[in-house]
């Protein structure tokens, strides 16, 4: 298992798309450091040959037939939009 000190808060906050204040960085670093240290005890567990559990009660082939149903009227689709124009959602310019 990686070491708690491998944790790079700036990099991860960047991936998560959350700006952090300097104060938050200090606080989170210490709090998450504690949590990661606690989590590191999972290292003690021998998991050789153990299958991972993704679902408590796995079943397969849960699907629906391809039948088109009515969707949301466009005004409902846009009702909660912070900004809209021409029946579309407005976002600030996407800079590649």
């Amino acid at each position: 298992m990686p070491k708690p000190e491998d944790f790079n808060l700036d990099h991860v906050a960047n991936l998560a798309r959350i700006n952090l204040t300097a104060e938050e960085k200090t606080r989170f670093s210490s709090q998450l450091g504690d949590v990661l240290t606690y989590i590191a005890q999972l290292n003690e567990v021998n998991v050789d040959g153990v299958e991972p559990t993704a679902h408590a009660f796995p079943v397969v082939n849960v699907w629906a037939d391809d039948v088109a149903e009515a969707g949301l009227p466009v005004e409902d689709a846009l009702r909660n939009a912070p900004e809209k124009r021409d029946n579309m959602f407005v976002v600030p310019k996407v800079v590649e």
Partner: protein, 481 residues
Amino acid sequence: MTYETVIGLEVHVQLKTRSKMFTRVAAGYGHPENTLTDPVVLALPGTLPVMNKDALDKIIKAGLLLGCDIAPVCKWDRKNYFYPDSPKNYQISQYDQPICRGGSVEIELPGPARNVMGEHKRIALTRIHLEEDVGKLNHGEGASLVDFNRAGTPLMEIVSEPVIQSADEAFAYLTALKTIMIYGGISDCDMEKGQLRCDANISIRPVGQEALGTKVELKNLNSFSFVRDGIAHEIRRQTAVVESGGKIVQETRDYDGQTGTSQSLRSKEMAHDYRYFPDPDLMPVEVDSAWKESIRSGCPELPFDKQRRLLEQYQVPYTITSVLVPDGELSDYFEEAARLSGKPQAAGNWITNDLLRELGASKTPLSASKVRPAHVAGLVKLVEDGTILSNAAKEVFIDMFHSGEMPEAVLARKGLKAETNLEDLERWCAEAIAANSKSVADYKGGKESALNAFKGPVMRAAKGKADPKRVDETLRRLLAQ
């Protein structure tokens, strides 16, 4: 130094389903903005995905047609990245357990001439997986507008091995892939509607070198010819860079088909880390042999297999098959007409020349054509047995195309039936022979072409309604007496 090119293509194909991949609102193209959404498409809080069975059927069909191994079990993964066209900011996709692996696409390279079959080869596939499409961003002044109609459409990603060697091969690969998808009813692959999209990874290396060169990803290849032109352009660009002592930079470039130029997409220096993990909202898919077999039983004959069969079974020329085969419906139409008429080549000529010309001119789809295989077969028979002459037959065809009447009915209505009164014909031939003793002598002296001198007067006498074959026969018989 000579260089060789190595190309791998990633092709995205939208599946032709009624509803979306993970929710049942309708999928479609050309609808007013944001009218094909529901709470799931918009990723409203609390919504959950449910798989579309038909999309699974269709990707399995694609896999079977391309000779892939169908995984007995596959799962869904979340590919996490933020982008305004992605409602959940993750895409449901398949990461390490795609539903199809391996397989290949048979392609035909351009032949030495248009009427000669080109070389065939197989392009190996790495994998095919299923995922969901994203919405559409419209870039405006200082802002972008997002339409989520396309979001959630079932999307198949077909990844080739890096084994394509030229722009022509890439073009042939896409063409073959498209034909197979259309044959299978899997997708219409209309690039203008975004139903097929293609990215190319291109590198060059000195001939003989084993290691691959630095690859460049080419995006926005949004028509078949842009794919060919864009790749050709990139190969020239890379060759020029290397030959002038430069180095290829690993990058993504955007090809502009209008200007025939490409430019680097300067992406922010933010490493991609998609944080794939199994989607806990979806259960795995298990494909047993019964399911596979039921799909296999509905698989059509592959286009190139059909072409080989048409060539063999009907003895028609390559040029006819190369027109017929890309269109499965047209090939079926041909086979029906060939069967009904017993004259495949004649039927093939009518279909690939006259029928396609009229359909094209009137923008009529084949399915709406009033001329059915029985019409074509009827016309072929009338020409064969001399009831009608070929120029009159052309007129009959156009009439049938508009009226939908059977050729006999058109003939009767228009009075275009060829003259079959044998007594008249005998008389006209005898008169023509009697009137031209010089040509009789020439013919009897071994000059075969002298026969033509009698035909003009006979045809004139018959007002053009005599069957040339019968005229020919009658003249020879009388001259031999």
